[in-house]
Subunit: 345 residues, 2 copies
């Protein structure tokens, strides 16, 4: 069986680990392709940093910091301290020494002429992931956040900043009014990577992970499906991804990142606020939309606590059901993956 998973970083990695375990246990010989959001990527002091790709790689490689929830285990920060002493980089965005090894290696591979897809494969080779890790785009496709200029805390802030700066430095406390994609000046317009499109097209099941619907999934597939750009109050996906999701012969099933109006992790609420959408499993499912009505999903999994949303979702053309979604450990993550596969087929 071939499975394509669209995923953001930390939440996507939790689900991906459970999915890999479930496939190994009950669907041997399956091939898992993970299409990762690249909207959080940045060039920092000349280095290409890819937070979501690395969160997935470290988690699946068993090298992530389970306690802190991000980055490498046994991390140190000697290099970052030097950079800060020189006034280089972002003082609020500390890069660990081990993590920097990844960024430097990737940057070198890109300078050697490899695509981000090829560079990611070279990096992932070390970790023996049991899955193919694919950047959603080979081009720079940074998510930038337009701040609400009327908010009192926006005083002294730039009108727009990189998503990671909004997320990490401002902790998303200054409201966003929109998100837009930016490339380096002079760089090519970002499109979906050929390998990501191939993975979606050849899959037997496509799964949308319980990741942030706006800045992790939306930056790949667009969100919400009926206003797919900034002008209409949504976020634009990478050209090709939504089309591939609508064209694939595989069922496309999504897992809600929201339980009882609370995101599983991260700050989906602030992102949904910017699009003037409620932070509910129902709103996110309706935002992805049913394929027969121009959306990207056939089926939508909500938590048992959100079963009341099922009629509205079914009304919108989605096969919808309720299952326990909380991933407290690898056992519950695997069970959720099994439920997802079973419901898709």
């Amino acid at each position: 069986m071939k499975i394509a998973l669209l995923a953001g970083g930390v939440g996507g990695a939790k689900f991906a680990k459970g999915l890999r375990a479930e496939l190994l246990a009950n669907h041997p010989g399956s091939e898992l392709s993970i299409i990762a959001n690249v909207g959080d990527d940045m060039w920092l002091s000349g280095l290409k940093v890819c937070p979501d790709l690395d969160s997935l790689m470290y988690a699946l490689g068993g090298a992530n910091d389970e306690v802190r929830g991000w980055g490498r285990a046994n991390e140190t920060e000697r290099v970052s301290a030097e950079m800060a002493a020189y006034g280089a980089g972002w003082p609020w965005f500390t890069l660990g020494d081990l993590d920097l090894g990844t960024h430097i290696a990737r940057t070198g591979f890109l300078h050697d002429g490899l695509s981000l897809t090829e560079a990611t494969a070279k990096l992932a080779h070390r970790w023996k992931l049991g899955a193919t890790l694919l950047p959603a785009s080979d081009q720079d496709a940074e998510t930038w956040v337009i701040l609400d200029p009327a908010h009192p805390d926006a005083v002294g802030e730039p009108a727009a900043l990189h998503f990671e700066e909004w997320w990490v430095r401002l902790r998303a406390t200054v409201p966003a009014v929109a998100f837009e994609r930016r490339s380096r000046s002079g760089g090519p317009e970002a499109v979906a990577s050929p390998a990501a499109l191939e993975a979606i097209g050849s899959a037997n099941i496509v799964i949308v992970a319980p990741s942030n619907p706006v800045v992790s999934i939306g930056t790949m597939a667009g969100f919400p499906f009926d206003r797919l750009d900034r002008e209409r109050g949504g976020v634009a996906g990478l050209p090709g991804i939504a089309e591939a999701l609508r064209a694939t012969s595989a069922p496309v099933i999504g897992v809600s990142p929201i339980i009882e109006s609370s995101p599983l992790r991260g700050m989906a609420r602030q992102c949904l606020d910017a699009l003037r959408l409620p932070c509910t499993a129902e709103a996110v499912g309706l935002g992805y939309g049913a394929r027969q009505h121009g959306g990207i999903l056939d089926a939508w999994l909500v938590d048992t606590a959100d079963a009341a949303a099922l009629p509205a979702l079914q009304e919108a053309g989605l096969r919808a059901t309720a299952r326990p979604l909380w991933m407290r450990d690898e056992v519950s993550s695997s069970r959720l993956a099994a439920d997802t596969i079973a419901f898709a087929m």
Copy 2:
């Protein structure tokens, strides 16, 4: 008093420290500009690495490893181990973590649009060097080594390799037949940096440090003066440097890096061999040449052990004298600097 010093890395740094101490003690208010060789520089895994600039910066900043003789004190190599695990970088060229902080900061400044001169000033600001550190060129000006294809150890080696690869990986055991300057493909032809030319032009004394005459000084000023390119069996300098040395109203004095046919440090012998020149204080002085005959020097300091060379040097138009040149500590380095200044004036 304004002094311009042309210097390579480790040997140049030893002399520069002594010179700074001498100026502070006996010529207060003096300005010291150090023009550093950039031939050893490289782009390694996307990072701009400048060994000579950094050796000078760390030594003058008191941050160098005195025992090992290069790099930062209290160094670790966590990042390099990661890079090696990914197959990135040069396995024989380990970069320390603290040192990498410098390279990443510099690379970021260059990506921000700063020249290497400006980036070097930003880095040096942290260390309060008491001197202005200037790269000899703002462009990539890498020294590449053409190996002797007839030598048995050249089998399996490339025809040409970066100077650092010859020096560090091969320990210069495969003979060189020539050196040439290379830029990144598509990059501009390297020329002397405006700040370096200005420092030479406005100096009251110009000193050529006891550094490797071929790959440290020659890559800046050319060597030997009567055959300044590869075709004629020499090494080409950076356009502008030799002209500035000939044009300046300041006396130009050189200090021999060779005592009794032994280089003070490094592998000058292998470099002089490639140019078919003997490894003697006399040959190096004659190779720099007297300004009135088209060379770059007015005066040449040899060790007391090499006093027998004085007549031949004087015959060639150089003011030459013998002094103790061995820099065993900062006291002897300062005394050598004092002797150099006294003899120049």
